[in-house]
């Protein structure tokens, strides 16, 4: 059974999917986002992170299980360690003390096509970021094309596994009305009942390269809400 490079765990989270969730942060991400709020999780194999056996992670989750709705594996980019995620989710499903927990992946969607096929049988939901529908903008924000992200969104929607799409919005970069409208239309075309969460860019945790970016103002947030709602997004959430 593959070990995982686990950057950390959080036993109680109300902001990583439905209900109360145990969150497993996996180390390593293939992107280098301008707005990354957790840049220390980007390197694939930094010093000080030792491989963690599946059983060790399961033990931590089992201890918290009576209070949990589920488990969310995030990162870094969780799907870079898909075999570990698969083994972890399978083990959770096999243990009667954790079998009732929903298993979620929170990722960037830049994923090999075979990964969702592998994870689908042991996964109840996936939350993906869509940094920009426009590919050029996407490259500016992440350093990569969004082609595989869009493919992941289509694939997951078809499998009925797409729980939520997160829009990380940065004033002036990806928050113009027409961009929001076209993004909403594209997502609604995928799934008319799609859940969309707006994550306003925040400086907290981000790097020096993001210091000149603006945080959305309350007026911006109100505009996002009205544009996305008018475009037909019914399930729209914002951070409290």
């Amino acid at each position: 059974m593959p070990d995982g490079l686990v950057a950390g765990t959080v036993p109680f989270s109300a902001v990583d999917g439905p209900g109360n969730r145990y969150v497993v942060f996996l180390q390593g991400c293939g992107w280098d986002c301008l707005v990354c709020h957790n840049p220390c999780s980007i390197p694939r194999a930094p010093a000080g992170i030792r491989p963690t056996p599946v059983a060790e992670v399961v033990a931590g989750i089992r201890d918290a299980a009576p209070f949990l709705s589920g488990v969310t594996v995030t990162g870094g980019e969780a799907t870079l360690q898909a075999p570990f995620v698969h083994a972890l989710f399978e083990a959770l499903g096999d243990d009667p003390r954790t079998a009732g927990l929903t298993r979620f992946v929170d990722g960037n969607g830049d994923t090999d096509p075979g990964v969702w096929e592998l994870l689908a049988p042991v996964t109840e939901g996936v939350m993906l970021d869509l940094k920009a529908l426009d590919d050029e903008r996407h490259v500016v924000l992440t350093g990569c094309s969004n082609a595989r992200v869009l493919a992941s969104l289509r694939d997951l929607a078809a499998r009925d596994l797409l729980y939520e799409v997160r829009l990380l919005l940065v004033p002036g970069l990806n928050d113009a009305d027409d961009m929001l409208r076209s993004t909403a239309r594209w997502l609604l075309d995928l799934d008319p009942r799609v859940r969309v969460r707006v994550n306003p860019f925040r400086h907290q945790g981000s790097r020096a390269c993001a210091r000149d970016l603006l945080e959305p103002s309350p007026d911006d947030l109100a505009r996002y809400r009205s544009v996305l709602t008018a475009a037909g997004v019914e399930h729209l959430t914002f951070p409290v």
Partner: protein
């Protein structure tokens, strides 16, 4: 009391600019009552009171009404009342007016009723034929009237455990109006209370800190199906109540004369439990045998309370300090050599469990008169503190500022809840983000009840309300009171409309409630398993 001293106190009261007219009247009544000598007790009992070990909760020297009265409002609505000269109500308007009239006539220590009934069950039959808007309009008026007419946050109503239209609408009005009155409890039966009702209750608590949640099956097992939750998490027989509540300060009891945990459990604790029971008995006897309350009160005459359904409450508090000091005497420390702390160290949890088991055993063996409903014994209660307590933690709580991570907190306190049939409280403080995901709290709540918690309550940082003992204060009221107190002389008039705000302001300060640890997810990596 010396006459001159009494005159001084009366004069200070009648000219006190911070008190409303009614607050002055209530204080004058207390001064008059306390001009009498308290029911006689032994020298040892009087000494234990003087040393702060046994405390009568300042109920008054001459108990002429029970501390907690839980009328059978359902019977009153069904039969009408000769005393109130009201027939059984025929519709929602009449029912609400009936209840308001009745509340004004319920005796109490505070001057205001501590129990308003299981309002969802009481009101549900009157909702037929009315749409939601029509009901909400009436409930808003009712709710506002309760808060303005009974301005005291110990005034308490119950909901649940079953889902009902009335429960939903009452929660909705409560979340909308954001008042400290009435205090609310939702009784939760894991098999009967649906997630959706819990979710609505959690969202209400995110708005205004209410309701408190009670493990219904666990309480039914101890008190029977006919119980109510009143005032500060006091679970008591309905159609009865509690004659009195006397509390034992475990911390002072340890400090007074203890050589170590074994000595304490075998020698000092049994003596102090006996002294507490003695004070309870003296107060109950005066109430029952001398005040004549149970012969002449209208609730008794109309069968809305039954004297045989009254018990007495034996409160304990300061468990944390008692345990920590005993471990010092025992020479037991934390692994790193620092003093062992309740909430952090296993040794402290184990000793807390042993201490409470011992208290429960002693209380169960101490006969108290006129408590047939609870087998002739007092009911044990984790007393949540009063405003003037300093350096001593409420009930069986973990000290403010030292509360551990969420699950550890639950697991430390949950095993102790079994000992407290009359209620126990641990307050969990959450981040506002739970408002966007109430299911997170629902999951924690269900888990906490599975772990054996009897009572669960939370407040949300930044929503403008602080959970004190079991009641709430609005933060802005506490600030206004402080500012008024800072202004000298009569120009400083402007106390507080709610009498409980005076108490809450003292508690927020003395018990450093602002320092309650917020249950937040540690940053990624910090919570490494």
């Amino acid at each position: 009391m010396q006459l001159l001293r009494l005159q001084e106190l009366v004069r200070a009261c009648v000219v006190d600019p911070s008190l409303t007219y009614r607050q002055r009247v209530q204080r004058l009544a207390a001064l008059a009552e306390n001009a009498l000598d308290p029911p006689p007790v032994s020298e040892a009992c009087a000494q234990a009171q003087a040393q702060g070990v046994v405390h009568d909760m300042a109920e008054g020297n001459a108990p002429y009404r029970p501390r907690y009265v839980l009328p059978d409002y359902g019977a009153a609505l069904a039969r009408g009342s000769a005393h109130l000269e009201l027939p059984p109500p025929g519709d929602l308007d009449e029912a609400l007016a009936f209840l308001l009239a009745m509340y004004a006539a319920v005796p109490s220590i505070t001057g205001y009723p501590v129990y308003l009934g299981d309002l969802d069950v009481l009101l549900e039959p009157y909702l037929a034929g009315l749409d939601d808007d029509a009901v909400l309009a009436r409930l808003r008026i009712f709710w506002r009237t309760l808060d303005r007419q009974l301005p005291d946050a110990f005034v308490h109503a119950d909901l649940g455990p079953d889902d009902a239209r009335a429960a939903r609408l009452l929660l909705r009005v409560d979340a909308e109006l954001r008042q400290v009155v009435p205090n609310l409890t939702l009784r939760v039966d894991p098999d009967r209370t649906p997630d959706d009702l819990l979710r609505a209750a959690v969202l209400t608590a995110c708005s205004d800190g209410k309701p408190h949640f009670v493990n219904h099956p666990m309480t039914v097992a101890d008190l029977g199906a006919d119980y109510g939750v009143v005032s500060c998490y006091n679970s008591l027989p309905r159609g009865g109540g509690a004659h009195t509540l006397v509390r034992l300060n475990l911390a002072e009891s340890v400090r007074r004369r203890s050589l170590g945990s074994r000595d304490y459990l075998e020698r000092a604790l049994p003596q102090d439990v006996a002294l507490t029971a003695e004070l309870i008995a003296a107060r109950v006897r005066f109430l029952v045998e001398e005040s004549g309350f149970y012969e002449h009160d209208w609730l008794v005459r109309e069968g809305l309370v039954d004297p045989a359904r009254f018990t007495a409450m034996f409160g304990v508090y300061g468990l944390a300090e008692a345990v920590e000091e005993l471990l010092v005497l025992d020479g037991v420390t934390s692994q790193d050599g620092s003093p062992a702390r309740y909430g952090r160290d296993r040794a402290a949890s184990d000793l807390a469990g042993a201490l409470l088991a011992a208290v429960a055993g002693l209380v169960a063996a101490a006969p108290v008169p006129y408590c047939e409903v609870s087998g002739g014994r007092a009911l044990l209660h984790a007393q949540s503190g009063i405003d003037s307590d300093r350096g001593v933690t409420a009930g069986a709580r973990i000290p403010v500022g030292h509360e551990p991570q969420l699950y550890q907190h639950i697991r430390v306190v949950a095993p102790n809840h079994r000992w407290f049939p009359a209620g126990v409280s641990d307050v969990f403080r959450f981040e506002p983000s739970v408002a966007a995901n109430p299911d997170a709290v629902v999951a924690v709540l269900r888990g906490a009840f599975r772990e054996g918690m009897r009572d669960f309550t939370f407040d949300v940082i930044g929503n403008g309300f602080t959970r004190v003992t079991g009641y709430l204060v609005r933060d802005e009221d506490v600030t206004a009171l402080r500012e008024a107190a800072g202004r000298a002389g009569r120009d400083g008039a402007g106390g507080a409309r709610h009498g409980s705000t005076f108490l809450g302001a003292g508690a927020v300060e003395n018990q450093r409630l602002a320092e309650r640890v917020v249950k937040q997810a540690p940053p990624a990596g910090a919570g490494d398993a």
